[in-house]
């Protein structure tokens, strides 16, 4: 396998790697800071807004489910919608491959993974394609080539490189997309996978969803590096820095970076600077009280990616009226409620699934253990 051309040779159509400031198209006030590409018509922006709002409300409803004890774990992506929805638009679902991390349900929704599947997985119901074997929020969706998520941080990075190497070997025009948080970039696996991808010129787009906190450790506590994307330099790939709360910027930069990867130039890294507005997960309810300031959270709430698109649409003379917005929200809530009922109605997988899929066929020792379990179940449970 050959190595990639020097990063300096990157032809950049206005989008430069290694910028000091995040690339931005739309400011916090919703006003464009540079001309928007023609594709961003009001209709297009409304579509993007709808996907983002759907994910936002999915978050809100799933937290309710959590409080009701109907699921046991949830990792919000509120505040990160522009990053994940923007990234999704550089992926061809079911063609390119995605090695995601556990906070990526907005990405999954944007790639067309049915909400029913996501909810089924969160509930561990019979309709869960992963058969209730993973903790909630660790999805896998075959149709979208959305690969199964491991809880181990950064664990997906070397395999993503391998999938990209396989794509290159097979001579397909697919690429692999690999996502992770900022904390993940401290793990050995991250460096190992990035380095290998560079050395092998693997067609992999690495995307750091830098939401600035890894549970209670902030970026400064995570690394003395100025930022994340400059680390790409060390691995011989371009690193792009983008305002992760600006859907236009994320789409433009990710599409550009994916294009570079698709063209056979080797891997690229995109760092989306964003913020998780909520807690890390339900296991971390008191984020504000314990480790971050109210001021910081308020400041980032002012950069809300969903609101930014609303301001932009208003500026363009196509505002989303409040009744329309309320109706959209109500529709998502209804949708979640319906899917929850549907998923719960399928019941829970029984004990047999425990012994299946460990191997391609069940070895004798598992048949023995399954028989023991059957006897216990049929003898009446205690």
């Amino acid at each position: 396998m050959t190595t990639s051309p020097p990063v300096e040779s990157l032809a950049t159509a206005g989008i430069q790697p290694f910028t000091a400031e995040p690339i931005r198209y739309v400011g916090e006030d919703g006003l464009p800071v540079q001309p928007l590409p023609a594709a961003y018509t009001p209709e297009r922006l409304r579509e993007l807004h709808a996907v983002m709002l759907r994910a936002r409300e999915f978050d809100r409803k799933l937290i309710t489910l959590l409080r009701q004890g109907r699921t046991t774990f949830y990792a919000q992506s509120s505040g990160m919608e522009a990053t994940q929805v923007g990234l999704a638009h550089s992926v061809r679902p079911g063609h390119d491959w995605v090695w995601p991390y556990y906070r990526d349900h907005t990405l999954a929704l944007a790639l067309g993974v049915p909400m029913f599947e996501l909810i089924s997985q969160c509930l561990g119901s019979n309709s869960d394609p992963s058969r209730g074997r993973q903790m909630p929020h660790h999805f896998a969706a075959r149709k979208q080539n959305f690969v199964s998520i491991s809880s181990s941080i950064a664990n997906q990075v070397p395999p993503a490189t391998g999938t990209a190497m396989a794509q290159k070997y097979l001579g397909t025009d697919e690429i692999t997309v690999c996502t992770f948080g900022d904390g993940a970039t401290s793990e050995g696996d991250w460096h190992a996978g990035m380095n290998m991808a560079g050395a092998m010129a693997a067609p992999c787009l690495f995307v750091c969803e830098n939401n600035q906190w890894a549970i209670s450790t902030n970026l400064r506590g995570q690394t003395a590096s100025e930022n994340i994307h400059i680390k790409a330099k060390a691995y011989g790939m371009p690193g792009f820095y983008v305002d992760g709360n600006d859907i236009v910027a994320v789409m433009e930069v990710c599409t550009h970076a994916a294009g570079w990867v698709r063209a056979g130039n080797g891997p690229a890294l995109v760092e989306c600077l964003t913020y998780r507005v909520g807690s890390h997960s339900n296991a971390d309810a008191d984020a504000e009280k314990n480790y971050r300031t109210r001021e910081e959270v308020q400041e980032w709430l002012g950069r809300d990616p969903v609101v930014r698109v609303e301001k932009l649409l208003e500026h363009l003379g196509h505002p989303i009226e409040s009744e329309e917005r309320a109706a959209m929200i109500a529709a998502v809530h209804r949708e979640v409620d319906e899917q929850v009922i549907r998923a719960e109605a399928t019941g829970q997988p029984d004990w047999r699934i425990m012994f299946e899929d460990v191997y391609s066929d069940m070895p004798a020792h598992l048949r023995e253990e399954a028989a023991m379990m059957r006897a216990e179940q049929e003898g009446g449970s205690r």
Binding site: P129, S150, N155, G162, M165, Y169, A199, E356, Y359
Partner: protein, 338 residues
């Protein structure tokens, strides 16, 4: 696009006597010829042919797209194998020494072993990790350990360790053709020391089946990997004293052939288990448990165990550390005199 297809016909030829490492090379060669999805990589496996020359000549034959060197990173090597397997290739990764699987450990146990299960069968990771293991080559503890029990403890992995050229070739082919991730330990001290016949035609040895190396009626002597020649020596010594020893080579640890082992102990009434890994949490503890659970009534003596010591593998005392014929014979005598 490279056509990925399997070739069924293998030209028949006369059986030949080869050593264990040649058997490994032949298995790789034939499987790569048969199936273009098989790719081979690791540190120095390309032009160099691997530290032990197991992949010698394969890059010249199959090209750099199929046999290639990687950066020095076991996490990348194992992780990449997972990603390739998930995407439909049949990766065979080499780790230079089993002692160096540490950096790739999490990729093995969190990704390779769990892929099928955690995705509900939506994704699978049929990969093979080949690695030389065990002592007896004056390698100090970073070139001599027997870490198989770390892997046998992980559901989802198949764990194999041959001791003859026939088994090495047949098991490696089965591992490559199978649908599950396989950790393939190669006892490095037998690479050249173990010679034997392999057929001229294509064959596999099914993973999970043990083999009786010699039949006996007084005691079942059970081992795998690098210790097997010492089991044979101990059995010879005992035969000279009129003791009939049945020697069993497990070959596969997960799954392992409980049926064959239990049947043997039911016949002989005595079992001595031999491996060179440290004793605590040694895989043979599982075998001992299973024997007493399934054949308690047949046992004429407690199950004996000979293992490495619970020390890091020593450099100077290499040969002393390993359970040689003397220690094995003594354990058998103890069981016979119980």
């Amino acid at each position: 696009m490279i056509a990925t297809q399997e070739r069924q016909d293998m030209p028949a030829a006369e059986p030949r006597t080869i050593n264990l490492i040649t058997a490994v090379t032949e298995a790789l060669h034939e499987e790569m010829e048969r199936d273009s999805r098989v790719v081979l990589f690791g540190q120095d496996v390309g032009a160099r042919g691997g530290v032990f020359m197991a992949t010698a000549g394969l890059q010249a034959t199959f090209g750099k797209d199929r046999v290639f060197d990687t950066p020095l990173s076991e996490a990348s090597i194992v992780g990449a194998a997972v990603g390739m397997a998930v995407r439909g290739l049949r990766p065979v990764a080499e780790i230079q020494f089993a002692d160096y699987m540490g950096p790739g450990f999490d990729q093995i146990i969190s990704q390779a072993a769990k892929m099928r299960y955690r995705s509900g069968g939506q994704y699978t990771a049929p990969l093979v990790i080949r690695t030389p293991s065990g002592g007896g080559v004056k390698g100090g503890h970073h070139h001599s350990q027997s870490p198989e029990s770390y892997y046998t403890h992980t559901p989802g992995l198949k764990v194999v360790m041959p001791s003859t050229p026939y088994d090495a070739k047949g098991l490696l082919k089965a591992a490559i053709r199978g649908e599950d991730p396989v950790i393939f330990f190669e006892p490095k001290r037998l690479y050249r020391a173990s010679k034997g016949e392999v057929p001229g035609h294509d064959y596999i040895v099914r993973i999970g089946e043990a083999v009786i190396r010699r039949e006996g009626t007084d005691l079942s002597l059970i081992g795998y990997g690098g210790v097997m020649p010492d089991l044979e020596r101990a059995a010879d010594a005992l035969a000279a004293e009129g003791v009939s020893v049945e020697v069993i080579d497990l070959r596969s640890l997960v799954p392992w052939d409980k049926e064959l082992v239990v049947a043997s102990v039911q016949k002989t009434g005595r079992a001595v288990l031999v491996s060179e890994a440290p004793r605590i949490s040694n895989f043979m503890g599982e075998v001992a448990y299973s024997i007493q659970a399934a054949a308690f009534d047949s046992l004429l003596a407690p199950v004996g165990q000979v293992a490495g010591f619970d020390t890091p593998y020593p450099y100077v005392q290499d040969k002393v550390y390993l359970p040689g014929p003397n220690r094995i014979t003594a354990a058998c005598v103890q069981a016979l005199n119980y």
